[in-house]
């Protein structure tokens, strides 16, 4: 039963609107069918598991799932790069995340994200000006012309990766993001092989850059990761590689969906779009509500129990695979009143859109700032924007969910 719903959620045909399926799923807060994963779909249960030290993110703790009918993602990481901190437990997770945070956020770099504001504003302006220059306002692809290039350029500048190499690592990033996607119809060996190769190639590419930065450091994060010597010492080359690969992919494949889902949602709610046009500060609550309503990361499919864990009356046995359905928790009526309503005026909005606990989104402050700037500028500059396709065409990925293209038209673009 649940398995059937889970398959439907993953099935591409339901990508545009998985929310009715989540609603069905929530009738059983913790469910399992056959040998499939334990699926947790309600807010409070997800929230508590995100803070539960009996839950591991390290795939090594997973019991073999050879007959898992969903063909859980193979651990492709082991053979090439060591796992990034996303797939590690403390203390290794904590040490690597702490070292990565040192050049990125408080307490050691409290101004880094804030200081990027002008630069981000310039990028947004440039991309929208670029749309004007095409002269084609009757068909704009908001993904290819704006929502994709913006965060990619930002993450490249932050890391110190040359923007002109983008076509090369774009392919690897796409492949690796796709490998997160539990696609039941893909050939698992091909799937695993492809992402292994991509990971290897991305690793080699980054290794070259890191080598350069070691010799001649700049003020970018690659240099800082490569030359770090804080209280935790230095990262090994392999650690620096898997960490920078993680940041590059995460910066690549998530914010694009936040911005695109955001514009799609605003175009479906013209009253809110108008309010944002009148008051750019409304971008802050709008982005929070978007993270609840259309989260760019829909579910976390790679957690494991270290002990038997009782959740909502169900005992999840030790070594089981646990999927946390963040997007479903965000629409749980036990937590949010009228959850299917997009309402930026919500007072109480502790959503799960960026996760919670030790693995909560590392880039959250940057993603928020990017989305706030992008949406408020789009709202301000596009005259009478409208959707040309609704729903638009989505990406394959069920985990990192968002439109592949978002064709819109507008009457003009304000300076």
């Amino acid at each position: 039963m649940t398995q059937a719903i889970l398959r439907e959620i993953i099935a591409y045909a339901n990508r545009a609107n998985p929310y009715p399926l989540y609603e069905e799923l929530r009738k059983t807060p913790v469910s399992q069918d056959g040998d499939g994963p334990y699926v947790v779909s309600t807010y409070y249960e997800i929230h508590s598991l995100l803070h539960d030290p009996r839950i591991s993110s390290d795939a090594k703790n997973l019991k073999a799932t050879g007959d898992d009918p969903l063909g859980s993602q193979s651990d492709e990481e082991g053979t090439t790069l060591p796992p990034s901190f996303l797939k590690l437990d403390p203390p290794d997770h904590d040490r690597l995340r702490r070292m990565t945070n040192r050049p990125f956020g408080p307490p050691h770099a409290p101004h880094r994200v804030h200081d990027m504001r002008d630069e981000l504003g310039g990028l947004v302006t440039g991309l929208i000006d670029g749309i004007v220059e095409t002269g084609q306002l009757d068909r704009i692809d908001l993904v290819d012309q704006f929502a994709y290039p913006f965060p990619v350029t930002v993450i490249c500048r932050l890391l110190g990766v040359p923007r002109e190499d983008e076509p090369r690592f774009h392919v690897w990033a796409e492949t690796l993001a796709a490998s997160l996607d539990p696609d039941p119809d893909a050939d698992p060996t091909q799937h695993g092989k492809g992402s292994m190769d991509a990971r290897m190639e991305l690793g080699m590419y980054l290794a070259g850059l890191i080598e350069e930065r070691r010799k001649k450091p700049g003020d970018d994060m690659l240099s800082q990761l490569a030359t770090a010597d804080g209280p935790d010492g230095a990262m090994t080359t392999m650690e620096a590689l898997s960490t920078s690969a993680l940041l590059l992919i995460a910066g690549h494949e998530t914010t694009v969906n936040l911005i695109t889902n955001g514009m799609l949602t605003l175009l479906r709610h013209p009253d809110v779009l108008q309010r944002l046009r009148d008051d750019p500060d409304l971008a802050v609550p709008i982005v929070e509500e978007l993270l609840r309503y259309e989260p760019p990361v829909q579910l976390l499919p790679q957690r494991t129990t270290l002990s038997d864990v009782e959740v909502a009356g169900v005992t999840i046995p030790k070594g089981a695979s646990v999927w946390l359905m963040l997007a479903s928790g965000n629409r749980d009526p036990k937590r949010f009143e009228d959850p299917d309503r997009f309402d930026p005026d919500r007072k109480d909005i502790q959503h799960l859109g960026l996760g919670s606990g030790i693995h909560s989104c590392f880039g959250a402050p940057l993603a928020r700032q990017e989305a706030q700037l992008a949406l408020s500028e789009l709202a301000r500059r596009l005259e009478n924007p409208r959707l040309l396709e609704d729903p638009p065409q989505y990406r394959q990925n069920a985990v990192l969910r968002g439109p592949r293209h978002l064709p819109i038209a507008c009457d003009g673009i304000r300076p």
Binding site: S48, P53, R54, D58, D89, P90, D94, L306, S307
Partner: protein
């Protein structure tokens, strides 16, 4: 009150809040939020609008924030009659009147008492008044101490190594000042977190260059001819020369103004029921007087319904909200204050957080991380159940432990966790000092079952 009197109260009643700090302000905001349209009077003995105290022992002492920039953010306008800089000096329960220090009287239909605590002064008043001797509780205290530290004293002496004392010592070291800490217990934080954690805290002091002296008392302070403190004499016969002395011996509850009023108030605070209604001295609950924040002691279901007093920021906010709600509700709509004690501290670059009541614990187990690295989560056990938890630089796990405590989970915990190390193989004795021996004063106090607090003799402090 089904006779419309509640509606009348909401429309044109008079609510008086004594205590214009965190709890008082948050309660006032909640009352307005709930549609209270009558008159609201805020009485505070300090001349300032409500401000935040946690930064006073942290950012303010480091000079990173200015003491007069710590005003609490407002959730909404409260349209109150502010009577600041005037202490309340008496309460006439029968006439429903609060007397003020300037002779004024203010009448109320509902009263909220949130007078909090003050710093326990140095027991010898003459020595306590010497130049260079400080306590730290108020904005003025913070400002004065910050200036004294900025002047670059040759040595600072901190008396008492509880949370505030430890934070002050940490700030001194961060400013590059030599500092001696004298603690009567065997380790810093020992009253609040026990000996196992106290030892970790002692390591933090010493590694950061604090001259930590434990198991000693300061017996007297000595001044130079100009009336400035110059040295302290310790019970072990030693002398510490210091130009600045900070007395950090815990807090005293501001209840003296209620002496003789008939309210159940004493040195341990004002007893109230789970709905924040104050008890009178006969143990009968009042209908029109409510209590919130540090000055309250209220029974807690999780801890055997003993009266619990908490000097915690989060408790003040939560209890104020509940009190305000209940003051404006029919009896069946009232809510209990079921806050699980929680607090945090920041010292020597380490974030310390705790939930539950650690001093109730007899055993402790390090469930995650390691004591040696000073990054860990530990749980306290009492009669086979989990009663509290503490984290050092590991606070993101705390909601899990809070849930375990709330559901009276067993101790020692029967499950494995991420990051379990050799420290976490078996429980250790938690090693709390005998509670009858005064140390720096824990910020959580269980004080028995009597609402009238009769076992303690009431003595006016000033």
């Amino acid at each position: 009150m089904r006779d419309g009197s509640l509606e009348h109260l909401k429309r044109e009643g008079r609510i008086v809040v004594v205590g214009a700090s965190l709890a008082g302000l948050r309660a006032a905001e909640t009352m307005r939020e709930k549609g209270f349209a009558g008159s609201l009077t805020m009485i505070g003995d300090e001349p300032y609008e409500p401000y935040d105290r946690p930064p006073l022992s942290k950012q303010v002492l480091l000079g990173n924030a200015v003491a007069d920039h710590t005003a609490l953010p407002r959730r909404r306008a409260i349209d109150a009659d502010w009577r600041l800089g005037v202490p309340a000096t008496g309460l006439d329960m029968a006439a429903r009147r609060v007397r003020l220090g300037n002779g004024d009287e203010v009448e109320y239909d509902r009263l909220l008492i949130a007078t909090g605590v003050r710093a326990r002064p140095w027991p010898n008043a003459e020595e306590g008044a010497l130049q260079g001797v400080f306590v730290l509780r108020t904005r003025d205290d913070g400002e004065g101490l910050q200036r004294a530290l900025a002047a670059g004293p040759r040595r600072v002496l901190v008396i008492g190594a509880g949370f505030t004392g430890s934070e002050i010592a940490s700030a001194c070291r961060e400013r590059g000042l030599d500092v001696t800490v004298a603690e009567r217990g065997e380790a810093p934080l020992v009253g609040a977190l026990g000996g196992v954690i106290g030892e970790v805290a002692a390591g933090m002091h010493r590694e950061n260059g604090v001259d930590l002296r434990t198991g000693v008392m300061v017996t007297s302070l000595e001044s130079d001819p100009s009336g400035r403190v110059r040295a302290a004499h310790l019970s072990d016969g030693s002398t510490v020369e210091a130009e600045v002395v900070v007395v950090s011996l815990g807090a005293q509850r501001n209840t003296e103004w209620l002496a003789g009023s008939g309210l159940g108030a004493g040195p341990r605070g004002i007893a109230c029921d789970a709905g924040c209604r104050a008890f009178d001295v006969r143990g009968i609950v009042t209908d029109d007087i409510y209590v919130a924040g540090d000055v309250a002691r209220s029974p807690h279901a999780l801890f055997g319904y003993q009266f619990l007093s908490l000097e915690h920021w989060g408790n003040a906010v939560a209890q104020a909200d509940t009190a305000a709600h209940n003051m404006l509700s029919e009896s069946t709509d009232r809510r209990p204050h079921l806050w699980v004690p929680a607090f945090w501290s920041s010292q020597f670059g380490v974030n310390i957080k705790s939930v539950g009541v650690p001093p109730m614990g007899t055993e402790i187990m390090i469930t995650q991380g390691s004591l040696a690295e000073r990054r860990f989560a530990a749980v306290y056990g009492y009669q086979g159940r989990m009663i509290a938890a503490v984290t050092f630089d590991n606070c993101r796990w705390l909601p899990f432990y809070e849930q375990q405590i709330e559901s009276t989970a067993p101790f020692p915990p029967p499950f494995s966790t991420v990051d379990r190390r050799s420290d976490g193989i078996k429980p250790l004795p938690a090693d709390f000092p005998d509670p009858s021996v005064p140390t720096h004063g824990p910020t959580i106090t269980l004080s028995g079952y009597s609402p009238a607090d009769r076992k303690m003799t009431f003595t006016p402090g000033r």
